[in-house]
């Protein structure tokens, strides 16, 4: 384990002020401590700022037309909250599918949307694979290697790792906002990967917030998201990350759809025609392919070759179709 100094903050603002010199936030600890023990990156902090003692930051409440969730709300509580279950079921379902009961009991929603990538190369102990995400000029070993949990729509900044968060996908589809110590983000913007900073600690983030910015609250419109669901396709039914996932919200006969496990960030599509669920699944995949082909072609790999991870394309189509059918 990397040695570190532990500091405690009594407010999010105080925590943000303590994030100088590369310090990082420690909330539930389910990802951060794992990283410190595994020493998988050279960009680990010398200081951790614990925020778990910040008072009244784990609420789940309905207020002013929003479901408001404190950053320290536990995933288990979100999964079981009746308001979330009835008014934003996709988030409840996503929270319920994170890891295992023990980890959901410790893990927070803030931590879940601030975790690091789950690439098998990136996470390997002792930085055995100096990959592009954590080393300037590093390679993406997944391109030639193992990429079941990687993008099927090309990479960003040479990295094929995907956003591993279940709740992130749901939040994007639900049109959520994320309130930090600096600003309020639209979820779809929040999860833009800071690819220009790959090779630094910030570049390892799965979101775009600054290094001294702390998530305080999640806000979800409390009406219009009732017909929503989250479907996850993983090898294991517990303690696994999505190889493909889809959050679908049906509003006014159209669907807002976010795809997970298939790109660096949740892929979001608004107003998808759902008159033919099969066609809807195929259309979002076609659009995603089209968009990725507009990007850096050198980042694409084997993406439609069913001998690698192209099977995820078919599964994505299917889970989108089934999600729509389940809501109709």
């Amino acid at each position: 384990m990397k040695n570190f100094e532990l500091k405690h903050a009594s407010s999010f603002e105080e925590a943000a002020s303590m994030l100088a010199d590369g310090a990082m936030i420690l909330a539930g600890g389910t990802d951060m401590i794992y990283s410190m023990k595994g020493m998988h990156t050279p960009n680990l902090p010398d200081t951790l700022v614990a925020i778990s003692e910040i008072p009244n930051a784990d609420y789940i409440k309905e207020e002013n037309g929003y479901i408001k969730i404190g950053a320290l709300a536990k995933l288990c509580d979100i999964a079981a909250d009746k308001t979330v279950m009835s008014k934003a079921p996709a988030l409840s379902q996503a929270a319920k599918l994170v890891a295992s009961p023990e980890l959901r009991n410790m893990g927070t929603i803030g931590g879940n949307i601030c975790q690091r990538p789950r690439c098998i190369y990136y996470r390997n102990e002792f930085d055995n694979w100096p990959c592009a995400r954590k080393h300037k000029g590093g390679l993406c070993y997944a391109i030639s290697g193992v990429h079941r949990y990687h993008s099927i729509f090309g990479g960003v900044g040479g990295c094929m790792a995907v956003c591993p968060s279940d709740t992130a996908v749901a939040l994007v589809a639900l049109g959520a906002s994320i309130v930090t110590t600096k600003k309020t983000w639209a979820a779809a913007d929040f999860f833009k990967v800071p690819s220009k900073e790959f090779g630094t600690a910030r570049g390892e983030q799965i979101n775009a917030i600054d290094s001294d910015e702390v998530v305080k609250e999640i806000q979800i419109p409390s009406s219009g998201n009732e017909k929503s669901t989250y479907v996850k396709w993983a090898f294991r039914k517990a303690i696994d990350f999505p190889q493909c996932s889809a959050a679908v919200v049906i509003k006014s006969g159209k669907a807002n759809i976010a795809l997970g496990g298939v790109y660096n960030e949740p892929k979001y599509f608004e107003g998808v025609d759902i008159s033919d669920p099969s066609a809807a699944g195929a259309s979002v995949v076609a659009k995603a392919t089209e968009i990725s082909n507009e990007g850096d072609a050198s980042n694409s790999f084997d993406k439609l070759d069913h001998y690698s991870n192209g099977y995820k394309i078919d599964i994505t189509k299917t889970i989108v179709k089934r999600a729509i059918i389940s809501l109709k």
């Binding site: 098998i120 390997n124 030639s144 079941r148 599964i315 299917t318």
Partner: protein
Amino acid sequence: MLVLDENTKFEDFKVLGNPDVHDQSGKEIVLGKTDFAADHFTGHKYFGALKSSTIMKGTIKSIDTSEAMKIPGVKAVITYEDLPLLWSPTITRYGQEVAGVVADNFYTAVRATQAVKIEYEEATDGVFDPDVAMIGKDADGNPVSSGIVPGNIMPVITLYRNPDMIEGVGADPGFELSDYVKEYKFPWSNSYTHNCLEAHQTLAWWIGDDMYFYTGTQDINYIKSYIVLAKYMPGYPSNKIHGVTHFNCGGYGGKSLDCLVPQALAMSKKVGGYPVLCKNTRQQNNMNRGRTFACTSTIKLGVKKVGNDFKFEACDAKFYSDGGHNTATPCGDVHWGLRTTYTIPYATMKTHLVFTNSTTRHYWRCVNDPPGAMNYDTAIEKLAYDLRDDMGYKGTPYDLRVSNMRTQEMGDQDFGNSGVSNYYAYGLHYSKYWGAFAIKDLYEKAYEASGYKTKWHDAHTKTVDDLYHNGDTRWHGIAITGHHDSHGVINGGSQRGGIIRAHDDGTFTVLTGSARGCSGGTTVCCNVVAEVLGVSADKVKLGDWGNTDTTLPGGVQAGSSHTVSISTTFYNTAVLLRWKIFNAAMAHPTFYGQATSVDDFDVEDGVIFLKKNPEVRAPYATILAKNAAIAASSNGWEIEETYTGMGPMLGKFTGYYAETENNTDQFGRIRGGAWRSKGNYLKRGDYVTCNGAAAAACEVAVDPETGEVEILHYWNVVDAGTVMFRKGAEKEIAAGAECAHNMAFFFGDIYDEKYGKLLSTQYTEAMMPTYMDMKTEDHDLILYESRDVGGPFGCHGIAEPCVTNYVSVFLAIYNAIGVWINPEKGNIGPDRVLKSIKRATKDGYSIDKIGARVK
């Protein structure tokens, strides 16, 4: 009073097989009191960590330890010079141990290993891909070499058989006699994890010239007598080597070099004998310990039409196993699964070891386990479908299997009763005699329980209720497989001893040399003693175990071997103790003058009485009040019959028993195991095969759109011989069934093939299954007691035989969708189901067409 002979009524046992008897050590396990190496010397020890190579082939040019030694808290660094018999400057695989650091705490030690600078001369001709290794050239035509054996391939075992017992004739005459011949080639399977749950750790220290170690292993005496002496200090006096193990790291651990004992001892020696706790990181544990072999095969089968049946006439099978850099036999026991389960008059079986520079692979017995079984079982299943297509066969795959099964009367095709024995592997010398031969019974039970007769259908012709109620279709499939298996075999390494102490309150303590097995191996020892002494199970307690200073090297080790010898050992020891107590009783006032020999006594519920006058009686406590006794015995196996280099542990036992024609000695003890039925007793030195066996039926639903496979029901039928500890046996076979499920879908190492490195170094990545992935309520576990004739009680290894039947899942998937899944060096996960469907679709197959299938 228990006396084993042909009249023994096993149904009358009061302790053995009693479902109310609990695990002697289960309470400690569930309360977390099980002691690991790290639990000892808390606060008064150093910590050791190991450094692994970052190349897969080459040599170490230099090692610079100066920076590591400057780190505060670092006490010493060891290199291959400190372990010349175990470590080498020659690198043959990624992750090979190249140095170790001793420090104040483990994390400092780990960090210091990063500061040990090693300069390598990396070879450019290393090889990771076994296909490339077999060819000897890479895609550009450049020669490649593992550097271990010339050509990277070593034939390991060749078996021949024909009706005239002429070795070397092989299969060709059989093919000439066959009406139908088909050859099946199988791609490389994956290499499975056979690893412990806890990363290995050993605490070692020296006091003067005595070495001490505490580790996790199945067999502490093996570590002492083989690992320490062969790999660390050859010729060292055995009475100066002291080892303890109380827990075997989850059942898989510690059969060979994975105990870290030499490493920890070398580290301790380097710091003046101070205790050092040497640990693997999880990554190292996964890189260096317990991988099993990948396999590829070509299997040619010939059958002859006899009436409406087709009989196996010939088999020519070639198995190739990727053993990494390891030299253990990988394929030897395909024999068990194929040749001892089915009758095949003319056969040639050849196995080969392919050497690559991939991570350490270990030998998991019973058919090179899953890969080998996957191949030959699939070959037989394919043959059945092909016979239906091409030869008008009306039977099912089950019918083909059962109609070709061997029976006990047929003896062994390759050795033993048949008079030909050319199966020698690393000193293993299997028996002349068969024990139980219940495989056909197991098949029939699986057949009946599963409803196979009405459920089996031609491939891709039956659907199940739609899971999602969305109009999508799932396809139904069913299959049955089963095999004989090497587990439970008596072998020469079983010279084992037991110790029982009788207390003056009429209770008894058992001291056994084995580690605590997963499901109560130590409890089995106690149960045998209770049965023989005629007391209830609660009167016999487990004392020390797995301690080379205080126990004899006897006991059950997981589910692998010694299954029979353990019952011999403690039966013998208990009989000896009973004989001593009865002798004492003769002198006791209660019985004085009324008994002329120990044969005049009997015992029931802990009370000794005269057979001729049962009212003259006294509890054990009365007799033992002034005559507390200890009994220690060995089971009399021939010491010269050792395996894998294991030598005598307590001196030479040869000649310990009087040479008589009888199978018992003067104490009535069983000598060397016995046939206990048909009045047929083994002579001393004879060997009996009492292999385990299991069959399984699997019923699945396959979702062709996501590749997901649901096991609708799984019937796991296991021949336990005689159940010695029912709760433990039930747990073992349940675990075996779950393991089969895991093998099918989850287990599997993940390698980066370009760089030759193992990626699945942590359990999140290695896809250890979760309980959420198994509906155990849909697993039927059927214990079949075949009443084997081997050993005093006739018990079998029971857990691992179940594992191999994971192939039934694979075959059921074919029955569902009509497509053979290409494992692509992996498991048969949903991704591979989808890929295989897609490949087939390119060749004209359609999932939407009922009955469509791929040959």
